[in-house]
């Protein structure tokens, strides 16, 4: 409601027409997001406490969607057959189209469902029960048509979105090329402007395009020649909407994959495809920004999707563990099996909390920049999903390895989560570097003062260090009398506060140690990213559990338990990582790791002698 009110207010604001050159007062400026502030050691608790709620009407609306979709997935989707045939049968696709799942985030005026991010995440939970369908839908709407949705003109939207929403047309996102994964500089596909200036001629080929064989609409990124500010001709990337009917679009045969076998992945070739100039997304030469925005906005839903999958897995494996007997005891009575269930429950709980917290933040009015949070959700949930599926398989023992059961398919399907939409390694760099950039901008002056030898600042720093060693009480107002966290989560809250504080000092230390050369310190950045992901996960879990207790949700004591387990573990991991970050490269093994890798890579082989070799 408040969002609507704000939007209405903003629309009602009088525009100072007399002073067109003066910047307008904006009520909804892009807010500094929560995660970036963590790098400064500050906790913006108003962003994450209380846990975002949806209104009752919205909830009812979601539940209306959830019922039929759940029914469809449990009754009409035969995942095993999809996996075996490596194809989603047309009747299943039609069923998905009838449910409107091809236009979940397309506004209602263009015939979509117009779901908010939260509702999209909720449906993603169910859709993820079949990996192939989830990937097909995600490639269609999370990246395939996202370009039109966020950067397209009204004409483009009106022309393409209705048919995309109905599923009559399927979209695909064509960025990757044989020689280019994350490096935009090596994109070879070229679009040349025709002499009359009315259309572009597109030439090149793209690989590993999800939905490449099914799609009618492609978002294609290609190089174009652009005259830049200095009047020089430069190659820049431009995004195009390409219809298959434009001609010259061919695709290779579907790739045979490890998992998500039902989704269609193939090469797409463009040969002298005529693309009208109206089909440029954004502006000519502005394709890089479009691509980045699409990629950044598409990730958050993986959290709820993975959580949905794990919840299903917990059900299936718990059934098995409670019935199978060994040594006259049920499997569920063995401590090592219990540990695995706890592990899965904690992971599912935390990734669910993160996903819905992020979705809630994105649904707020204004232009919340949640790309870092979304990346954190993606990294955490994909790794959690992989670990959980593996543990589930372990509980089942040999049975899980058999193709007669669905578990091995889950394992194969889950493996892609770590790879696509930006590999986890790259996203870790993104998370850490974005935060470092943000913190660096703010801390530069202070660090410079210290480096210059300003006694006052240095003394202040020294005193604060001294207080840290004496045992500082960190208080961000999470716990205590006026705290936002429920008292039963007090210890977790304190741990979170302490971690955030020391993370802030560590980041400051790293910035003063490495400066801008920190981009080359990938091992350091990985630790930084791991810490901040843990911090965000702790925050989300604490926030959600607090809300659950406060409003008295069913089984909230279980939530408190899971939260406390996770926070305690994450606290120790964070402390260890922070301690490692405070050491120099020769003390925390970084040097040794790099050296060992270098020796291996120099010979491009495992270079140790065989244990049976001898010299005498």
């Amino acid at each position: 409601m408040s969002g609507l009110l704000l939007r209405a207010l903003r629309a009602a604001l009088p525009v100072p027409a007399t002073l067109p050159a003066v910047r307008r007062l904006r009520t909804a400026a892009p807010r500094p997001a929560f995660a970036k502030e963590l790098f400064l050691g500050t906790l913006r608790k108003e962003e994450v406490f209380p846990y975002p709620e949806v209104s009752n009407e919205e909830l009812e609306e979601i539940n209306q969607f959830v019922g039929p979709v759940e029914k469809f997935f449990s009754e009409e989707v035969d995942s095993k057959k999809i996996d075996q045939d490596a194809k989603i049968p047309p009747e299943t696709l039609n069923g998905l189209k009838d449910l409107g799942l091809f236009g979940m985030q397309i506004p209602e005026e263009y015939g979509g469902l117009g779901l908010s991010n939260t509702m999209y995440a909720r449906l993603g939970e169910i859709i993820s029960l079949d990996g192939s369908i989830a990937v097909t839908l995600a490639a269609h709407q999370a990246i395939g048509l996202k370009g039109i949705l966020i950067a397209g003109t009204d004409e483009q939207k009106a022309k393409y979105l209705p048919r995309l929403a109905s599923g009559e047309h399927i979209a695909a996102f064509c960025l990757t090329e044989p020689g280019s994964g994350s490096d935009a500089a090596s994109i070879q596909t070229r679009a040349t402007l025709s002499e009359d200036g009315k259309y572009f001629l597109l030439n090149g080929s793209k690989v590993w395009i999800s939905n490449g064989g099914l799609a009618n609409i492609f978002t294609v990124f290609a190089r174009t020649e652009v005259v830049d500010k200095d009047g020089q001709l430069k190659d820049k990337i431009t995004a195009f909407i390409v219809e298959r009917d434009f001609g010259g679009v061919t695709h290779g045969k579907p790739e045979d994959k490890l998992g998500i076998r039902g989704s269609n992945t193939c090469e797409v070739h463009f040969e002298n495809t005529k693309v009208p100039i109206e089909n440029v997304i954004g502006e000519v030469g502005g394709g890089f920004k479009v691509a980045m925005n699409i990629l950044n906005s598409g990730r958050f839903s993986m959290g709820s999707a993975s959580a949905g999958m794990i919840k299903k897995l917990i059900e299936m494996t718990a059934e098995y563990a409670c019935t199978r007997k060994q040594f006259n005891k049920r499997l569920s009575e063995f401590g090592l099996i219990q540990e695995k269930f706890c592990f899965m429950a904690v992971k599912a709980y935390v990734m669910e909390s993160m996903a819905y917290l992020t979705a809630g933040m994105m649904d707020r009015p204004g232009f919340p920049d949640c790309s870092v949070e979304a990346a954190m959700v993606k990294v955490f949930s994909s790794e959690g999903a992989w670990a959980c599926v593996s543990e589930a398989l372990q509980i089942l023992g040999g049975l899980g390895y058999m193709k007669d059961y669905p578990y091995e398919r889950y394992l194969r399907d889950a493996r892609i989560l770590l790879i696509f939409e930006g590999t986890n390694e790259i996203l870790r760099l993104y998370i850490a570097l974005t935060g470092m950039q943000y913190a660096g901008k703010i801390l530069t002056d202070k660090i410079k003062e210290i480096k210059k030898g300003n006694v006052g600042v240095a003394l202040g720093e020294f005193l604060s260090k001294l207080r840290d060693t004496m045992g500082r009480k960190v208080d961000y107002g999470l716990v205590g009398d006026h705290g936002v966290v429920h008292p039963s989560l007090q210890e977790s809250g304190q741990k979170l506060e302490e971690n955030i504080y020391y993370f802030g000092t560590t980041v400051r230390g790293l910035l003063s140690r490495f400066g801008k050369t920190i981009v080359d310190e990938q091992l350091v950045l990985k630790r930084v990213a791991d810490i901040v992901i843990n911090l965000y996960a702790m925050t989300a879990a604490i926030s959600r559990a607090s809300r659950s207790i406060s409003i008295g949700l069913r089984n909230h004591d279980h939530e408190v338990l899971l939260t406390n387990i996770f926070c305690t573990e994450a606290y120790f991991k964070n402390n260890y990582a922070i301690a490692q970050l405070q050491k120099y490269a020769d003390e925390n093994l970084d040097d040794c790791i790099k050296k060992a890798a270098k020796q291996v890579l120099e010979k491009r082989a495992y270079i140790c002698s065989h244990p049976l070799d001898r010299t005498f």
Binding site: Q437, T444, K448, T615, F616
Partner: protein, 427 residues
């Protein structure tokens, strides 16, 4: 000669079983440096004669076969077998062993452990073992032990690791805790440890100077797995001692990185062919030539950072903070600016004509070279190379020279000789 009198003493007086230990050892020592073949001494002439008669001809025969290395081991084995069967007193064995040691490398058996064992079997078991602790204290049988040590030293020099049998033989000859046995133990300790100490080992048998050796040498310099080694011109005739006498070989190495460096260098600046520079493969001297350029001005060396490059994460941080001195763990090295090396080559001849063919061959993979001026700066292989009016050419060192004869072409004796754009190919 000095102690010749010792030899004329009756046997019972100086080496017999009845003589006291100390006296015996002294006598043995004094008899050793006599140096000349034992047969001239009075002692037991018949035994010596037999040793000479059997050993020497076989020995000489094998030493004549120096050219034929294949026959070396067999000849060595035959000679020693004959010696072992020779009856009678074993006099002059020390000299024999010394001579055999000297001949082993020529016969090609210097790396065979069995050959050393056979030498050790020539030495008598028992008589040189000191008896009792006192004799052991008084450095017994020094000449004999020295002989054992020489065998072991030669093993060490050729990296032959002793084994249990060596030790067993030494124990039998010199007794426990004698100097050769200790040396053997030290060898057993060190040689296996040092066997793989060379990170870039050469094959045990090097090919003779020529195309095969050049390929090996290029592999050694261009130690980049991506580097491609191309034979631009095959030698005629392509084997034998006079390999390449009609047409010299040309072989070059270039990696993809070097190709992109050359492309970046551009046609505007000249590139230089320099050389010859020496490269030693054990005792073989090879010469190589490099194609290099002057360093590019800094602004051309790397592309300016492109903010629109990485789709996923920033490649550069926009911060005004440098790296602190605490984390700068590189050594403070004063770097001398050197131009990039674009390609390497070895050729059977070092004249401009031959090297021009190399440049022409390189143009196939590097089209930019066709429009780049190529300057030949060929020296005589001895620094400083090729300054006009520089020091006169010194005769090359006594080694196997590669290329065999350095031609005195126009580009050779010094002057930097500029060829026009693309003319390198035509020469």
């Amino acid at each position: 000669m000095r102690l010749h009198w010792a030899r004329v003493l009756p046997r019972g007086l100086w080496g017999g079983w009845g003589a006291p230990q100390v006296a015996r050892s002294l006598c043995q020592r004094s008899s050793r440096p006599a140096g000349d073949p034992a047969g001239q001494a009075g002692g037991d002439a018949s035994g010596d004669a037999a040793g000479e008669a059997v050993g020497a001809p076989a020995w000489r025969g094998s030493s004549r076969g120096v050219q034929d290395e294949d026959r070396g081991p067999a000849a060595f084995a035959a000679a020693l077998a004959a010696l072992e069967q020779a009856p009678g007193r074993r006099v002059g064995r020390l000299e024999l062993v010394a001579a055999a040691l000297a001949a082993m490398p020529v016969l090609g058996v210097a790396r065979e452990r069995e050959a050393y064992h056979r030498l050790l079997r020539l030495l008598p078991r028992g008589p040189w073992v000191p008896r009792g602790p006192f004799q052991r204290l008084l450095a017994p049988f020094p000449q004999q032990q020295e002989c054992g040590l020489q065998i072991l030293e030669q093993m060490e020099r050729y990296g032959v690791v002793p084994d249990a049998e060596t030790r067993f033989l030494l124990l039998g000859i010199f007794g426990p805790r004698s100097r050769p046995v200790r040396k053997c133990q030290r060898l057993l300790y060190w040689l296996p440890r040092l066997r793989h100490v060379d990170p870039h080992p050469l094959p045990p048998h090097l090919p003779p100077p020529g195309l095969a050796a050049a390929r090996l040498g290029l592999h050694r310099i261009a130690n980049d797995p991506d580097a491609r080694i191309t034979v631009y011109q095959h030698p005629v005739p392509d084997e034998g001692d006079n390999e390449g006498s009609v047409q010299p070989y040309i072989i070059g190495a270039q990696s993809p990185d070097q190709q992109s460096l050359l492309a970046r260098h551009g046609p505007a600046r000249p590139v230089f062919v320099e050389g010859p520079f020496p490269l030693w493969l054990r005792r073989t001297r090879l010469c190589y030539y490099v194609l290099r350029g002057d360093p590019l001005p800094p602004h051309l060396r790397e592309d300016p950072p492109d903010p629109e490059r990485s789709l996923y994460y920033p490649l550069h941080l926009d911060l005004d903070l440098e790296r602190g001195p605490w984390d700068d763990d590189d050594f403070d090295v004063e770097e001398v600016e050197e131009g990039p090396v674009f390609a390497l080559c070895m050729a059977g001849a070092g004249d401009r004509r031959t090297l021009g063919k190399w440049i022409a061959g390189l143009q196939e993979a590097n089209p930019v070279l066709g429009s780049t001026p190529v300057v030949f700066r060929l020296g005589d292989g001895h620094p400083p190379a090729g300054a006009p009016g520089g020091p006169p050419a010194v005769p090359p060192p006594p080694a196997v020279l590669e290329p065999p004869d350095l031609p005195r072409g126009p580009g050779h004796s010094g002057g930097a000789d500029a060829a026009g754009p693309g003319s390198g190919a035509g020469q």
